[in-house]
Symmetry: C2
């Protein structure tokens, strides 16, 4: 595909995205369902493409972990089809009235949710992520430009071909989605400032960091997940053991698993042997600071441990003087993702929740709750550690922008200016009910 061909595709995609943003909820949901059915219709082709990708990956001696993520089998198919059905049942994110204010009689202001425009999705290996993000973009009325890893190119192409085949017979058409060729590089996508409104990278920390550092386009995501749990002097130690074990071992490869346990000095002697026994039972190896090492058997702490995202059954334990030292540790070493306090002291909890500047700040529960589905967001677009646009687990709302709609009857600003200026009413109105743009438009 040459540069001009890509440019033309993207022009059509932008136009198609505009059409999608104004399309009816029923048309978008119907297409989600027909994409689901289309994947069954085209299953033989997808399966064939996937086995070619896997054969080549084996020949190229790619790692087993990567090959596992590359597999798109009947289980993955069933899972993405279930996802498509669920996304179809979510509430329509377009046209929600976010603010409504009567500026004056006959001059009504509304701020209404509206798709961002064009999402750029760059992902490593996993073809199931492709179907998931396409479904979320379609639901939310956004166009999408996809760029997958070259090891999955045949599978991704077969999936996009199937999606486009289903879309072609829909009133929404097929041009709102495009897959960039395998040989076009990621760096060219990072320069598509004019075409892409928001980038969503999915892959390793290093990959996400590379994307963030090499584009002027807004990025939704997170690189590191260095999460902490602080066990306060007033903690219920049984709760603390249960939460720490869950936060480390329930799924250690997750970004919201803890890497360091901070323990108040006044409970250290009682708590650390307890938690160490529970963690050892789950196979966790502990890196302890000097004070911890005097209480339990552990690997001695070494420089750099507090900056490690182990993503494995390894955990740092550090004894701190007080809540200040715990919060300073989190500010210095954390990645502002998810941090928790275990405490029975309401005042300490308030302080920790107020002063720890992370996307998710928890009290008396596991950090593993930081997740779009557990949070009840319906779907998860990603977890963002940025403070602009969307922060923490992000649902469909992360794919939405808004616009201001002002409906008048001939009003001019000169009426509200100068020495005889008429005053504005600025009456806040209920945001229930449909916006002024709901209903048929010719």
């Amino acid at each position: 595909m040459g540069g001009r061909r890509i440019q033309e595709d993207i022009q059509r995609l932008k136009k198609s995205a505009t059409m999608l943003s104004g399309s009816s909820e029923s048309a978008r949901n119907a297409l989600l369902r027909s994409i689901r059915e289309g994947l069954s219709r085209d299953w033989a082709l997808i399966k064939e493409a996937n086995s070619l990708d896997i054969t080549e990956a084996r020949e190229s001696q790619l790692s087993d972990a990567l090959i596992k993520r590359l597999v798109f089998d009947e289980d993955k198919l069933a899972s993405v089809q279930l996802g498509l059905s669920q996304v179809a049942t979510l509430k329509d994110p377009i046209g929600e009235v976010l603010e409504r204010r009567l500026l004056d009689e006959g001059l009504l202001l509304e701020r209404v949710s509206f798709p961002i425009g064009v999402i750029g999705m760059i992902f490593e290996a996993r073809p199931d992520a492709l179907v998931q993000i396409v479904s979320l973009c379609l639901k939310s009325g956004n166009g999408i430009i996809l760029k997958g890893g070259k090891e999955a190119f045949r599978t991704n192409s077969a999936l996009v071909a199937s999606i486009k085949r289903s879309a072609r017979s829909s009133p929404l058409g097929e041009e709102w989605v495009t897959l960039l060729e395998s040989h076009s590089d990621v760096s060219s996508m990072l320069k598509m400032d004019d075409a892409i409104d928001l980038l969503i990278p999915r892959g390793s920390n290093a990959f996400v960091r590379y994307v963030m550092d090499n584009t002027h386009i807004a990025v939704l995501g997170h690189a590191d997940g260095i999460c902490h749990m602080y066990v306060d002097e007033s903690a219920d130690l049984q709760k603390a053991v249960a939460c720490a074990v869950d936060a480390k071992t329930q799924y250690p490869a997750a970004c919201n698993a803890i890497e360091t346990l901070l323990v108040h000095k006044s409970v250290a002697e009682e708590f650390i042997p307890l938690v160490a026994a529970a963690l050892s039972g789950k196979g966790v190896s502990i890196h302890g600071d000097e004070a911890t090492a005097s209480l339990i058997f552990c690997t001695p702490f070494k420089e750099g441990d507090y900056l490690m995202e182990y993503l494995a059954l390894e955990l740092n334990i550090r004894i701190v003087q007080d809540i200040e030292e715990a919060m300073e540790h989190i500010a210095s070493y954390g990645s502002r993702h998810t941090d928790a306090i275990i405490s029975e002291d309401k005042s300490a909890i308030r302080r920790f929740m107020r002063d720890v500047d992370s996307a998710d700040v928890f009290a008396n529960c596991s950090t593993r709750f930081a997740d779009g589905f557990r949070f009840g967001l319906g779907a998860e677009v990603g977890i963002s550690t940025a403070k602009i646009h969307a922060r923490g687990p992000v649902g469909l709302s992360g794919l939405m922008s808004s616009k201001w709609l002002l409906s008048g009857s001939g009003q001019t600003v000169s009426t509200y200016s100068g020495p005889e200026a008429k005053a504005f009413l600025h009456t806040e109105l209920d945001t229930e009910g449909q916006s002024v743009i709901a209903g048929d438009a010719k």
Copy 2:
């Protein structure tokens, strides 16, 4: 000020910003009031600094327009002092509960508004903009790094010195605000990715465009303001004349003034002479396409006119075949700032408001209403044409992020996972009332 000194200042500023984010509403409002009084206390010093800047500007033969913007006299003082009082009366933007959901009994999730962190403000000439943005950052609990034009350096330094003098005796201290030296260049500020969470440039279009194109930091603002008014076939032509005249002439230098009037062919013959007469009466010179030139006396249209932001009493008029052609013109030439339709046809209005992808889309009123004060936002941080974070006129909410607070009683994710998983409740709760972090914290 050397590089190390700046780094140290910024470290202290980030720490101070964290303290500010957790400070009480009353402490922030008290400091706003004492800054207001402090400006009177230090007026002699500020006035002296400003006259030195103005003398030097005259000697350097800077333009009268620039010198006018540089002046900080008793009127400007009164105006920024009034602004400080008003900002003190605004509702506290910190700690508002944006979402509240019971995940399960005893497991409460809240999303709470929280300051972004550190705002970087880069502005040309106007010293009054400095006081305004400092007041908005203080109110919203954000630290601020300021960089003004070198022609205003003495005035800006005197203003910041006064603000810091007032802050020093407050419990909030003075370290949350810093002014970069005149010789430190803008480009070094644009690289402060680690220190600055959001950049707000204030100045010419070219300046804002330069900032947007040369930083990885999120930018709140807009470069061009190429706004349109479309007069539909069903328009009330009296309303159309009044709105067009207001939109062009009420303040032609504003970003939300119109540059092009699009007129449906079926009303052109009646409307164009009417509006031309009214506009001529206000001194507007018209650039007309060929069809318009056959109806009225005007400057013939030339290539590039549709991309001009005149910021003056000049206006393009183009006759279009239908609403589609009008919307295509806006999509091709507009800057997605503010566009309006004049029409009595509800279906056409809905379509225009739905399909025009601009920050503000208006019906039957002047584009000049696109403004934070007119919109009732209380204060205006800026107008953004980006679709990420904040769009259109932006109030204090544009300086806010949010964080997720989850309060439990020892819950672990393992309870809600696997074959015997407990189901989540996900009960939506009212967002009225204070968040779990309100109240005293030790």
